[in-house]
């Protein structure tokens, strides 16, 4: 009887797995088939596999540009976030001063802000400063929107580093900056890599700020590129699928190598 129950449970779970991962597998298959093939049968296996569709999308549909833009913007935003965020988090966790908790609370509470409250004025401000439609502008905005979460995750980690370590470092003659850079930062690397992965995925997939702040073809990020592409060729299901896969692949690669770390990152803050 328990064996039967077990088999039933397993069947149910497999069923759910098809439901959860099916769409992704289907998209992967579509990405290797031409639209004519797809219209003959939407659910057939990709044989022969049309790998040439990837270079085609990459070179002819401008995906190389979108990909380069996304990489540039996301990587620089993540680097700035890591440095600026960990500096602030270290300071808030390490130094006790009046307003410490106030600053922490102000930064942290921004997490629940709906994006509309800033987005319209950000558009005006970036236009004023000539940062509208520029990669630098979008990068800075990305830093700003992920800063609260980054500081929040890092602060709680920094706060758990025993202060004896800092005292020892100070006795050894370390300056405040050296204490941060050579003591805190290396110890916090697990938490920092968590925020790096988390910020990378969230920003790589970001759409709303990009669609408001970028209109020029040369500066489009991947989500915008995909949107433009389906606008132009709604019916070309095969090519759209190839584009989707190009956008997903970096995340899948990260996932393949760091799935534990990534799950940790995505779920950080929600686990009690």
């Amino acid at each position: 009887m328990p064996a039967l129950k077990r088999a039933l449970l397993l069947l149910l779970l497999s069923f759910y797995t098809c439901f959860a991962a099916g769409p992704f597998v289907w998209a992967a298959m579509l990405s290797l088939r031409t639209t004519t093939e797809i219209h003959r049968n939407h659910f057939a296996l990709p044989s022969p596999a049309h790998w040439e569709k990837f270079p085609e999308a990459w070179f002819n549909s401008n995906y190389s540009v979108y990909f380069a833009n996304s990489s540039m913007i996301v990587i620089s935003a993540v680097l700035i976030l890591t440095l600026v965020g960990s500096m602030a988090a270290h300071c808030l966790a390490r130094y006790r001063f009046r307003l410490n908790r106030v600053i922490y609370f102000i930064l942290f509470s921004t997490i629940i802000f709906p994006p509309q409250i800033t987005i319209i004025s950000l558009f005006q401000i970036l236009v004023q400063y000539g940062l509208y439609n520029s990669k630098i502008g979008l990068t800075l905005v990305y830093v700003a929107i992920q800063l609260p979460l980054t500081i929040y995750i890092l602060e709680s980690f920094f706060a758990r580093i025993p202060s004896d370590l800092f005292d020892a470092a100070r006795i050894d003659g370390y300056s405040d900056w050296e204490i941060f850079w050579r003591v805190s930062f290396p110890i916090a690397l697990p938490a920092i890599s968590t925020t790096v992965i988390l910020n990378f995925i969230l920003l790589w997939n970001e759409f709303l700020y990009a669609v408001v702040l970028i209109t020029e073809e040369a500066n489009r990020t991947l989500p915008l590129g995909i949107q433009r592409f389906i606008g132009d060729s709604q019916e070309d299901v095969g090519m759209i699928a190839t584009g989707l896969m190009i956008a997903i692949i970096p995340v899948v690669v990260v996932y393949a190598f760091f799935s534990e770390k990534l799950i940790q990152g995505m779920t950080a803050g929600a686990v009690k």
Binding site: Y16, A20, A21, P23, F24, W26, A27, H42, V84, M87, A88, C91, A93, Y95, R96, F97, I103, L107, T110, I111, I112, F113, P114, P115, I117, T118, I119, I120, S121, L122, F123, Q124, I125, L140, V141, V143, A144, L147, A159, S163, D167, W177, F180, N205, F207, L208, V211, V212, P223, I226, L244, A247, S259, I263, M266, T267, G269, A270, V271, K272
Partner: protein, 310 residues
């Protein structure tokens, strides 16, 4: 990740740093973050508030007092969008978290291949709303989408319909998509919470001859209550912001059936030919107050005041 409310060793820090507060260092460490915060979050937010009392045209601005607010009160599309968004934010979290709980319990019961399931179920979260939206446009396609193909194969032709084109089914269909996307995430968090439960408590319950259902209701659920409520608040906040998915699939159509506050603000600010940024700012300001109030009420109701996370 367990964490304390007060940093460990705070006492010693307090004593030591009270003697000499290195203000220069503190300012230097905080300045970059605060500059970015002020320039790209605080100032824009205040400016939106200011905008909401003005008519903001490309070349000129004029103060209109509360006119925008009066107009907003009578704007049926806005209230429709509010209703849609709140429906979304109230149904999706419950759906996600309850399905995730069932799945997490199944994996917790030591099913073979648990690791594989966990990785597979997590995949939807990795994709952006844009990718997910396009995939589900295809899945809901009237002629060849798997949903309708499946229904027809089962002889249920009557139920096959353009899911996103019918005002009655469009919103539920999209809510379903977000739940599909986030169940895996919730499941992983709940599984982590389950694994961190003290084994002795559950064993004690077993010794007391507590049945499977009893164990769940009286032992496990109370112990992971905080995580469950966190996940609900988290999901709620996420759904109040929803934009990408709607924008890529329906743009709020048909007949405003899937209009959310985010898409409406975007339309009024950047699509409609009124060119006025004041009115959409008013929507943003009012929505901000609504979101803040509901999140605070939620956390207060859940008595989670100090536990609100993410």
């Amino acid at each position: 990740m367990a964490r304390d409310a007060t940093p460990a060793g705070a006492e010693t820090n307090l004593r030591e740093d009270a003697l000499a507060k290195p203000w220069g260092t503190i300012v230097a460490f905080l300045l970059p973050a605060l500059t970015i915060y002020v320039a790209f979050t605080a100032y824009p937010a205040l400016r939106t508030l200011w905008n909401s009392f003005h008519k903001v045209l490309p070349r000129r601005e004029e103060a209109v007092g509360l006119a925008n607010y009066v107009e907003l009160a009578r704007d049926d599309i806005f209230w429709r969008a509010v209703r849609n968004t709140i429906t979304w934010a109230c149904t999706s979290p419950l759906l996600e978290v309850s399905v995730a709980l069932v799945l997490a319990l199944a994996l917790y019961a030591k099913v073979p291949g648990a690791r594989f399931f966990r990785v597979a179920w997590f995949t939807p979260v990795l994709m952006s709303y844009i990718v997910v939206g396009i995939l589900w446009l295809w899945i809901y396609n009237y002629d060849w989408g798997p949903v309708n193909v499946g229904l027809r194969a089962l002889g249920l032709d009557y139920f096959a319909k353009p899911w996103l084109g019918d005002p009655k089914t469009a919103l539920p269909s999209l809510i379903f998509v977000t739940s599909w996307m986030w169940v895996g995430f919730n499941m992983v968090v709940l599984l982590a919470a389950l694994h961190s439960l003290p084994k002795e408590v559950i064993e004690a319950a077993e010794l007391d001859n507590c049945g499977w259902g009893g164990k769940l209701v009286f032992v496990i659920l109370p112990l992971i209550r905080a995580t469950l409520l966190n996940l609900i608040v988290l999901s709620f906040i996420g759904k109040m912001k929803i934009f990408d998915l709607v924008w890529i699939t329906t743009k709020g159509n048909p007949l405003w059936a899937t209009e959310t506050v985010s898409t409406y603000v975007y339309k009024r600010a950047f699509e409609w030919t009124t060119f006025d940024l004041g009115y959409p700012s008013t929507i943003a300001a009012v929505w901000f107050v609504i979101v803040l109030a509901t999140v605070l009420t939620l956390t207060w109701v859940f008595r989670l005041r100090e536990k609100l996370e993410y």
